[in-house]
């Protein structure tokens, strides 16, 4: 019990440190951009000397870099992330509706992919070498290698335009989210299939499986044991897949003209709306850090004996590659 608590605290502490590092990187974004930070904060407005001066004053740009960072961080703790250049409104209020859309989209996609990916992965592994396995493999191959936006476009053309099953563009209703979610889920579930199949196949070919079979232990119990042993790999990779999921939202939202975080990020980048970019990057960082911490804790609680899966193992198995999308 004490061990478990210690592990959880240690892991969360780790995430907090990572978040600090990331927040620093994110804040530096403003300064990394070529040119004068004040001009960057002007965005696409007319850069009159008065405006530049007021921006410098407003953002304390004359102060040393670290003081500015501390000020920004302090604001972030009080949930004050500055003012959007484009909308002129408080960043958090401005971003909230976009975030809501994206979270719904990602949630739905994750739900589809986990259910579909896990079951297909298990079916493929349990029927290795059969027609069903090859079929699932082909699907996984296309899903992991084809870019989401191209697939989305084809789906849009076939399902929404030719077959008229879904509304084409826009947002607001549940049906508007289904096709984008399927597009996202297409790639993500393919990754989960690949991971699950590979991890489970590894367990199926173990001696302990043979020994359990030799003792006439029920097939369901054997599968559960195999899944338990495969769970560190599956959970860890699924956690990483979530990061990829946020990456692909940008493209999918653009294809389907959905007003989500990704879309907002892309347009804020073009408009040089730095405070919004920083805020979105921070949200993503928090989500990703927390997910990976949660996954690690879950893996540990499920299976304290298991050797922790290192990402380099996964990479070696070619599982992480797909997430570059």
């Amino acid at each position: 019990m004490k061990d478990k608590l210690f592990f959880i605290l240690k892991r969360l502490g780790n995430s907090i440190i990572t978040l600090f590092v990331l927040s620093f990187v994110i804040f530096s974004l403003l300064f990394l951009a070529p040119g004068d930070p004040a001009r960057n904060l002007v965005g696409t407005r007319q850069a009159t000397p008065e405006l530049l001066e007021s921006i410098r004053a407003q953002h304390y740009l004359d102060e040393p870099f670290l003081v500015q960072y501390a000020r920004w961080l302090n604001g972030a703790f009080r949930l004050d992330f500055g003012t959007s250049i484009r909308a002129g409104a408080d960043v958090a209020t401005h971003v909230a509706p976009f975030a809501a859309t994206t979270f719904q989209l990602v949630g739905m996609a994750l739900f589809f992919s986990v259910i579909f990916g896990l079951s297909c992965g298990i079916i493929a592994a349990k029927n290795q070498g059969t027609l069903r396995d090859s079929f699932i493999n082909v699907f996984a191959l296309i899903g992991t290698s084809a870019p989401g936006f191209a697939v989305g476009l084809l789906l849009l053309y076939l399902l929404a335009f030719q077959l008229q099953l879904f509304p084409m563009f826009g947002s607001g209703t549940f049906m508007h989210l289904v096709l984008p979610a399927i597009t996202l889920a297409f790639a993500i579930s393919a990754m989960i299939i690949k991971i699950t199949r590979q991890a489970l196949l590894h367990e199926i070919n173990t001696d302990y499986t043979t020994f359990m079979k030799a003792r006439a232990i029920s097939p369901i119990r054997i599968t559960l044991a195999q899944l338990k042993n495969a769970s560190p790999t599956i959970l860890t990779s699924t956690g990483l897949v979530l990061a990829a999921l946020f990456g692909s939202t940008v493209l999918v939202e653009t294809i389907f003209s959905l007003p989500g975080l990704g879309n907002l990020l892309a347009s804020s980048v073009t408009f040089r709306d730095v405070p919004v970019v920083q805020f979105i990057a921070l949200i993503m960082a928090v989500i990703i850090c927390l997910t990976s911490a949660l996954v690690d804790i879950l893996v540990y609680l499920l299976n304290p004996q298991a050797v922790r899966v290192s990402t380099s193992n996964l990479e070696h198995a070619g599982l992480l590659k797909g997430r570059k999308k």
Binding site: F211, K213, A216, R221
Partner: protein
Amino acid sequence: MITIDLQNLNVTSKELDILKNLAFHLNNSEAVGIVGESGSGKSMFVRSLIGLLPIQTSVSGTYRIDNKEISLNAKEKQWRTIRGKDIGMIMQDPFTALDPAVLCGKQILVGVPKNQRRHFDLTAALTEVGLPTYITKRYPTQLSGGQRQRVVIAAALATKPRLLVADEATTALDVITQKEILDLICNIQTQRNMPLILITHNILLAKQRTKRIFVLEQGKIVEQGNTTDVLTAPKQKATKKLLDAHHLLLDAPYATGATREKVILCCKMLSKRFGQTQALNNVDITVDVGECVGIVGESGSGKTTLGRCIVGLTKPDFGFVNYFGTHSPQMIFQDPYNSLNPAHTIRYMLEEALTAAGRAKSELEEIITLAEIPTELLQRKPAGLSGGQRQRVAIARALAPRPDLMICDESVSALDVKVQNQILHMIQKLRKKQNLAVLFITHDLAVLKMIAGRVYVMHQAKIVEHNVTKQILENAQHPYTQKLIAASEIGVS
């Protein structure tokens, strides 16, 4: 009681015959041995008994248990009525046979039929295999190899089988543990009066532990009958070959020792720790010029670490390695398949070694003659060489810098006995001709007897005993050495 009758068993995999026309009968509570080299089809035979053949294989034949015919192509559901209840199996590798994520007690329990699970006595089951009760609350990774194999046996017995099959059940273990586990299995067999099929590559083991024997070669039974009869007068080549495959500690000749003169290597108080494990604990050894010294111990005793510390591949935490030679010591590794770079030809490797040692490439002739390597091998890559040839190349390469000391880390244990003898002979010749000192690390007492004049016995990171080989083997003082010799005399290796 159980009767097993198997006729015309044929197993093929991708057009390849694995078992041909096999007949097997068992109706006594006796121990039966099935022996053969690896690849002779022993494991496939066991697997066909319980329907666990690999997917790509096809099988035919008539199979009867207690006169009830069973289809060899039966569905999983039917096999599940046979597995565990009629036939129980002990797996080869205790390190992988248990589920790493489940407590040992639970693993034994899940095999017990549901209606009996509540009244199952775990303590009794563990006591039968010689384990304390607290093992139920341990994960397999927390146990030693021997303990794990005992858990495996307890798990196999928990399903109440009427026949026990042990498939190379001790091969992965150390000599002393091998003996203990074999004693345990045979005790259980006599106490439960249960038939036992012992599958092994080690014919001497079958000789001691079984009443009847089947000799398998390339999927066929070539000889069978009463164990003593078959083995005292073997009729088939395969049987003779298996008998010749083991050094007998008693038969092996003593090495001729060198007279001790000048010290070439002196290690003092060597200590090394890897995380939680102490690999070396205050180890002192000396080796003299031109002498062959043996280090004997089980896997994990620290003997390899000692060798690596001497050549400088591992840095000791504490202690001194004083080496008085002019050329740095060289090492011959255990695994001949990994000691040569697969990307290069033999010629390239040997010439590179000569160049690195500052010698001319033209001296290649000299080192290949010393290591007795035929010239035609020079153009080949390691993949085209046998294990023995590879080890010769490794020796030739080590000879290039004219070392004064060579460390052989289990250098012959992956080879056939015949090749082992040749290599050992060659090392002895080299030692005399080049006045080369050799530190020979091994777990095999017979090999040790043939090569080393003096021996250090290592146990749990310490040198527990040190003497002339003859003294050690005939008059061991330390209880560990005595146990090791007692276990080795049956010829298991």
